[in-house]
Amino acid sequence: MALTTAHQSAGAEANSATSGRPARKPRESGRLRRQEGRAGYVFLSPWLLGLMAITAFPMLFSLYLSFTNYDVLASWDQVEWVGLDNYQRMFTEDPSYWHAVRVTLTYALIAVPLKLAAALGVALLLNRERRGVGLFRSLFYLPSLLGGSVALALVWRAMFSGDGAFNDLLSLFGIEGAPWVNDPTWALETLMVLAVWQFGAPMVIFLAGLKQVPTDLYEAAAVDGAGKFRQFWNITLPMLSPVIFFNLVLETINGFQGFTSAFVISNGTGGPVYSTLLYTLHIYNEGFTEFRMGYASALSWVFLIAIGLITVVFFSTGRFWVHYSDGEN
């Protein structure tokens, strides 16, 4: 869902600074200003209501639930306050929890860099091309539109089964493949391939970023005798670093939120042997198949805090390696 959200948000920060400048004339009367202030809240009211009712209240409610044993079937008078039990259970008595943490981290740490590397690589190749760029760009982008669907996950499941098309392909080269999705060693890797396959969206963003790198920088570097690699390292990467940063934040958060492919490929179990038990799948199973909603709320809150921390880490380390051209550079 939040396919393209993060890089925009990062862009937003840059923008909100500039848009804060009031364009209003000082002579404007107080009455008009008040009218505009009122109108502002009128226009904002649906969003504000949504923020309160659909986001803020549920968050607080979920925090409350995380300290209870609430399950869907029980009536409210059966709900008990259990203190930190849910959190304690998570860290000490739920082995699946640690499987979920490990699987999710592995998935995000490997799939996200691979996907970004693929996106950047292809963008660099395309950037050099004169003809057919539009066509290539569109076709490479297609999987990003389709890849999150149940249909593609079903196709992946069929392609990467023991007697699926991928092994058929391998057998042409005399290789006997594994049962991929039914093999705990390979099932998660299969999901990663599906993620990398959707490199199109970050690629499009990289391409646009590359177009904004001033060509005279390369020319100057070439005159100085810098080789291709040096140019890439000293010019392209720094110039592109804001875009890389946006893509990284975006894709990491997306990576942590993967659900559909793991659900479909493991038939909702996170198997074989927990190998595809993404954190979100664990939340879903605890909350909606076991109906331990209190526990699932606790899981959600820890998830939220973890993602919050990761975002903070990104933004606080970002200033050491992200170069904004209108800033210090």
Partner: protein, 450 residues
């Protein structure tokens, strides 16, 4: 998501008819929720209803079950027969495939709108009863509104939770192995025998694998299935549950895992990934259907469904091990909703479905053998269908050998059996030793059953 082995859960068949959910409480408003959510809702829907004193007042009953199309046809027909005899009663039937059934039941129950009558199985009964979703039928049985005098006593007992009659068995079935007669004849291997120990059974299965020539195996690996483990425990005088705790020890579980470990080394079972494909229990993925193994572990009333999915001739036997481990199990139950406005009508309909000979004839053995023994006898004399006959023969053959029925599995069982599936698979895949796996299961169990 439902790796369950539902009794007779059909192919991804499905659904339909009107939703039994009554008037939604639409538009209570987001604000109302923000102010006062966590308070008293669940039961607000119902109150005392004076109309129940008038036996001829019009009554509408919602009725919900899962299954395939043939079950739907029979059930609807039986319900029509009831309404033709009780014109003041209108029944709204709703059915769907097993997939998602419990999601929906939980959802509507949570809103205090559980259907007046619904189908449930022993994996979920205690969960629903202990959360007070089900109607307590004890007094209705005592008053004779539901007549259980002719019912198999063990089946009646298997519908009780904490001393209350919370559900009425709609049929009886038993776990069974289903084997491929045609293929065995082709391979020149004799058929398996009732009463074999697991050792004998594995030796036989290894022989099948050997003759199968590489891509065909003797038996499904059922080490991850709670009922196989349960039956095996019972042959040793133990139980899966003892009240709200496990009735066996970590050492027992290690022995069980090692038993299957041996079968694996002997070559009796297929590689883990092939076992994994069939572990969901759905008919179309069973190894006797996909032609990868000679034996699948199913329910006695699923024979006809499996038979429809393959050209080879199938036959049925009890699980390996002493038959006394088996018990007359309620395949499915009828339960009422605690929030129903018409408990007596609910009782009367359930009574009709389980005791009326005509209704029994319509329903056949789709939900297992009738619980009422008189009705069972009449039905047996009446039927012509071959698969129904086979089910009868199978259950009758076991009747005298059954052990006593255990109590219904406790609250938390449904989650725990999924844990067993996942943990046992880690042994199958060689990712954990039997000892480590057993230890993990016991850790999970204490949390799941708490």
């Amino acid at each position: 998501m439902h790796p369950a082995t539902p009794p007779t859960a059909g192919m991804p068949a499905v659904p339909v008819h009107r939703t039994p959910v009554p008037r939604r409480r639409l538009f209570r408003g987001l604000i109302a929720a923000a102010v006062a959510l966590p308070l008293a809702f669940g039961t607000a829907a119902c109150g005392d209803d004076e109309s129940s004193s008038d036996p001829n007042a019009p009554v509408t009953i919602e009725f919900f079950w899962w299954g395939g199309e043939s079950r739907a046809k029979a059930t609807e027909e039986a319900l029509k027969l009831y309404t033709s005899k009780h014109p003041n009663v209108t029944i709204t039937p709703t059915w769907q495939a097993f997939d998602g059934y419990y999601d929906k039941l939980a959802t509507i129950s949570a809103g205090g709108n559980a259907p007046d009558i619904f189908q449930i199985d022993d994996n979920n009964l205690t969960d629903y009863a202990s959360r007070r979703v089900t109607l307590d039928l004890t007094d209705l049985v005592k008053d004779g509104k539901i007549d259980l005098s002719k019912h198999h006593a063990e089946l009646t007992k298997y519908g009780q939770v904490d001393g209350k009659q919370v559900a009425i068995a709609s049929g009886e079935n038993t776990p069974a192995i289903v084997y491929d007669k045609t293929k065995l004849a082709e391979l020149g291997v004799s058929e398996p025998q009732e009463g074999w120990s697991y050792q004998q059974y594995f030796d036989w299965a290894a022989q099948v694998t050997q003759k199968g020539g590489g891509k065909y195996w003797g038996t499904m690996d059922i080490s991850s299935d709670y009922k196989a483990l349960w039956l095996w425990l019972r042959t040793q005088g133990k139980e899966f549950y003892n009240g709200k705790q496990l009735g066996f020890t970590e050492a027992d579980l290690v022995t069980w895992f090692k038993l299957w470990q041996e079968a694996r080394t002997k070559g009796a079972t297929p590689p883990a990934d092939i076992v994994h494909e069939a572990v969901t229990g759905s008919v179309s993925t069973q190894l006797v259907v996909t032609g990868k193994a000679a034996v699948s572990f199913m329910w006695s009333n699923q024979l006809s469904e499996l038979q429809k999915a393959t050209k080879n001739e199938l036959a049925m036997l009890p699980y390996p091990g002493d038959v006394k481990g088996q018990w007359p199990r309620a395949s499915l139950y009828w339960a009422g909703s605690r929030t129903t406005e018409h408990p007596e009508v609910v009782a009367d309909i359930i009574n009709f479905l389980v005791n009326d000979p005509e209704a029994a004839k319509i329903l056949g053995t789709d939900r297992g053998l009738p619980a009422n023994l008189d009705v069972r006898e009449t039905l047996e004399a009446d039927i012509s269908d071959n698969s129904m006959k086979a089910t009868f023969a199978f259950e009758n053959g076991l009747a005298s050998k059954f052990g006593a029925a255990p109590p219904v599995p406790p609250k938390g069982h449904n989650g725990l059996r999924n844990k067993l599936r996942d943990i046992a698979e880690s042994v199958t895949y060689g990712k954990a030793t039997p000892e480590a796996a057993a230890k993990q299961f016991f850790a999970e169990a204490s949390a799941a059953l708490a």
